[in-house]
């Protein structure tokens, strides 16, 4: 039976410092709680930094930089948006954001899944890598900007290009699945990704819903149509996305996906010579 505790980050109208929030989280874990609810978060940084274990941290409000940085195995749910560096160097677990998450989401992640309902900025999933069974996943419901998947060494990035703006039933309430009217989810109007997609990629794959022009590809990246193997990768992932945000999978599959993958796992292999001279 999960033990739940609530922490108010704005007690008596006074904003708690991140250090105090993390201290309270650690104390709650030490006291045996495994579901920690943070109320009134207003941009505090480093929430849950470096934690490891099977705990759930639920954030109400907008999270600051570095949510879940270095952590392993936790589940974070953010009923709001996140600032830069969500899941920086993530080692495992799941992060679910009911809002946007801006630049450098999942930088250097080695495991875990990150689901974002809305849009992202640049450098999403930069230098993610996979190892053994540990395969990081980033799935954006909305659109992202330049340098997505730059230097990627493993894992999966999915960008769906959906627009949830009209689908929020009551914008004044925290967003969760019950507050989304899936029938009103549309395809995003603008471009789904921007330039330098997968620049320097040498492992893993990026799946974009829809077509992308060649000139958006970065160096050492190439695009392909998806095959059965890719579908096997995408299906559970999209199923999870739909479960989290209430979207109908048929709506997502209505459009095809484009896969962006590395030209080589050793893009710079011929760039250097080690002959003794």
């Amino acid at each position: 039976m999960p033990k739940r505790i609530e922490i108010d980050a704005m007690p008596e109208g006074c904003k708690l410092f991140y250090r105090d929030i993390n201290r309270q989280i650690r104390k709650a874990i030490a006291d045996g709680y495994d579901h920690i609810v943070l109320r009134n978060i207003a941009g505090q940084r480093y929430i849950g930094a470096g934690l490891k274990g099977d705990y759930t941290i639920e954030v109400f409000g907008d999270a600051g930089l570095d949510l879940g940085v270095f952590s392993e195995g936790l589940k974070y749910i953010v009923h709001g948006s996140s600032e830069y560096l969500l899941g920086n160097t993530l080692n495992g677990g799941e992060i679910v954001v009911y809002g946007d998450s801006w630049d450098i989401t999942g930088m250097g992640a080695r495991g875990g899944s990150i689901f974002v309902m809305g849009n992202g900025g640049s450098r999403i999933g930069i230098h993610m890598k996979e190892f053994g069974d540990s395969r990081p996943i980033i799935c954006y419901g909305g659109t992202v900007k330049q340098y997505c998947g730059e230097y990627m060494a493993g894992g999966v990035i999915v960008v769906l290009g959906l627009d949830f703006k009209d689908a929020i039933i009551d914008p004044k309430k925290p967003i969760d699945r019950d507050n989304i009217d899936a029938k009103l989810v549309k395809n995003a109007a603008g471009p789904i990704v921007q330039s330098d997609l997968g620049g320097g990629i040498h492992g893993g794959a990026i799946y974009i819903r829809g077509e992308i022009p060649d000139e958006l590809l970065g160096v050492y990246a190439k695009k392909e149509e998806i095959d059965e193997g890719d579908k096997e990768v995408l299906e559970p992932l999209i199923e999870r996305f739909c479960e989290l945000y209430g979207v109908n999978p048929d709506f997502i599959w209505k459009e095809g996906f484009t896969k962006v993958k590395p030209i080589s796992s050793r893009p710079f292999g011929k760039h250097y010579t080690t002959t003794p001279i």
Binding site: R45, S71, G203, Y272, T274
Partner: protein, 512 residues
């Protein structure tokens, strides 16, 4: 297309004296560069290809009758003051491959050595020297942020210090710098870890993660967080100290690449990366584009380590190192490593290794003075490295402003390295810079640990003896004590930047 004209002239010649040779075959077994092989049919060693010899001296060392000599190859290029073999060979190889020349070890160019222009002071008559063999000379040093002043509380008659920032104590102001598992072998790194534990000092893990066998040394390790974030996980963040690597003296501004062939199962497990793919550390850290961003990562690491480990930043010594250092202290770093342009490497583009960065002596003097002027020097522990060849370099770098010296190449020489610069090839015959487990086993870990401990202890003894002769009873009194140094080199401007007086310069007018 490779033709005979692409042939690189041999640099060395291995000569076997068959009159003394006892045909034991050790030379052939030991040569990893395919220069000498043992011909089983004729029961004798032969020089297979003299061009392959790199003068690693492995065969010479293992020949029980000293029957092998490695000499420079008799036919050199025609002598030329400008077109030296260094340049001609570089042009030839790049004309053949069109690639970047990779090199190992530190800067190979004959730049003037500032350390060699410095001498230090000793006690005579007016202040007594300390006999370090019988009297205490403190070499213990603490890495971490120091408060401006101490707050002491009294509770029920007991005194207590209030909230000191985390510091790690080391028995000597001498640590081993960052080397990753991958750039050096499992045996080499284990020997060094064991040595620092034995001596009570620290070593950097490099950006290679930490192998599960090595967590026992955690209190003596500085975990590196670099641009590839290899092996960084919650357990890794519980090491003695954590250091963010921005730059390395051998290749300022350049990242790192462990070529796919070196990413073996051992490396793959330790770094958490796929087998056989290039392990690429990008040049910048993609979450650090400013001092403010650096501050963010330092704070994230402080949070993740629950403020139990000091968090440092390592940079290469470059033109504006003093201003950058000031920014790093203000970003909240507890310690800072400055790596001079002679710092070593397992692999760096030769053009960068040999030309980028500035000497550590000038960098450290400049940083120390700049932080003193800004009244923030006390906040940070400064670790200096990049070509410390002996205890004298260590002592001089401390007097110029460093709290701690770090060594890399010196520790590898203790393990057998002969500085042949073939690290990037992975063929290291001494079992140091290689991922090949058979070669790695050439280092007996107990023997290696003993050798490295001996080296660290030897330099520490040197330091105590010298401190005694200077009349200084604790090494922290030597830190930045540039008044105890004198300059004997050719360039007064250099002395000025170092903040060191010229030898023989009189102080004051004394009674005239």
């Amino acid at each position: 297309m490779t033709t005979v004209k692409d042939k690189m002239l041999p640099r060395f010649k291995a000569k076997i004296d068959y009159e003394t040779c006892i045909k034991c075959g050790r030379c052939g077994e030991n040569c990893t560069y395919d220069a000498i092989i043992f011909n089983r049919d004729e029961d004798m060693p032969i020089v297979k290809s003299t061009g392959n010899c790199v003068a690693c001296q492995r065969c010479v060392t293992f020949c029980p009758v000293d029957a092998i000599a490695i000499t420079p190859y008799p036919v050199e290029f025609a002598p030329h003051g400008t077109w030296t073999p260094y340049h001609i060979r570089g042009v030839m190889e790049q004309a053949r491959t069109g690639a970047v020349l990779l090199s190992g070890m530190g800067n190979d160019r004959p730049f003037p050595m500032v350390f060699d222009n410095l001498v230090w002071d000793a006690c005579q008559v007016t202040n007594p020297a300390i006999d370090s063999l019988r009297e205490p000379v403190e070499t213990r040093t603490y890495i971490g942020r120091k408060p401006k002043n101490l707050s002491i509380t009294k509770n029920r008659g007991k005194f207590a210090l209030e909230d000191l920032p985390a510091n790690v104590g080391i028995s000597t102001p001498l640590i081993i710098g960052h080397m990753s598992l991958g750039s050096v072998s499992y045996n080499a790194i284990t020997a060094m870890y064991r040595a620092v534990e034995d001596v009570g000092t620290m070593m950097g893990t490099g950006e290679g993660g930490l192998h599960k066998d090595h967590y026992v040394y955690r209190d003596n390790l500085i975990g590196e967080v670099a641009s590839g974030r290899f092996g960084v996980n919650p357990d890794y963040l519980k090491l003695g100290a954590i250091e963010i690597k921005i730059g390395q003296g051998a290749k300022p501004g350049h990242g790192g690449q462990l070529p796919g062939e070196k990413v073996t199962q051992l490396i793959s497990d330790t770094r958490g990366i796929p087998l056989g793919t290039d392990a690429l550390s990008p040049n910048p850290q993609h979450d650090i584009y400013s001092i403010e961003d650096l501050k963010t990562l330092i704070a994230a690491l402080h949070e993740a380590t629950e403020y139990q480990s000091p968090v440092g930043v390592k940079i290469a010594a470059v033109n504006n190192v003093a201003a950058i250092a000031s920014g790093i202290v203000r970003a909240g770093a507890d310690f800072m490593t400055i790596d001079g342009f002679r710092g070593g490497t397992g692999a760096a583009p030769r053009v960068i290794r040999d030309n980028a960065g500035i000497p550590i002596e000038l960098a450290i003097a400049s940083v120390d003075q700049h932080l003193r002027n800004e009244k923030i020097r006390h906040k940070v522990t400064i670790i200096a490295g990049g070509g410390l060849r002996s205890s004298s370099d260590l002592i001089k770098v401390i007097a110029l402003g460093a709290d701690v010296g770090n060594i890399g190449t010196s520790a590898l020489i203790a393990l057998g390295c002969k500085v042949c610069q073939q690290c990037p090839t992975g063929k290291c015959s001494w079992g140091i810079a290689t991922g090949n487990p058979v070669l790695a086993n050439r280092i007996d870990i107990d023997w290696g640990a003993q050798r490295v401990s001996n080296l660290l202890r030897g330099w520490t003894h040197d330091l105590s003896e010298v401190l005694g002769t200077m009349g200084i009873d604790a090494v922290e009194s030597l830190v930045g004590n540039r008044d105890r140094l004198r300059y004997v080199g050719p360039n007064p401007r250099e002395a000025e930047i170092l903040g060191v007086k010229h030898a023989g310069e009189r102080i004051g007018t004394g009674g005239e």
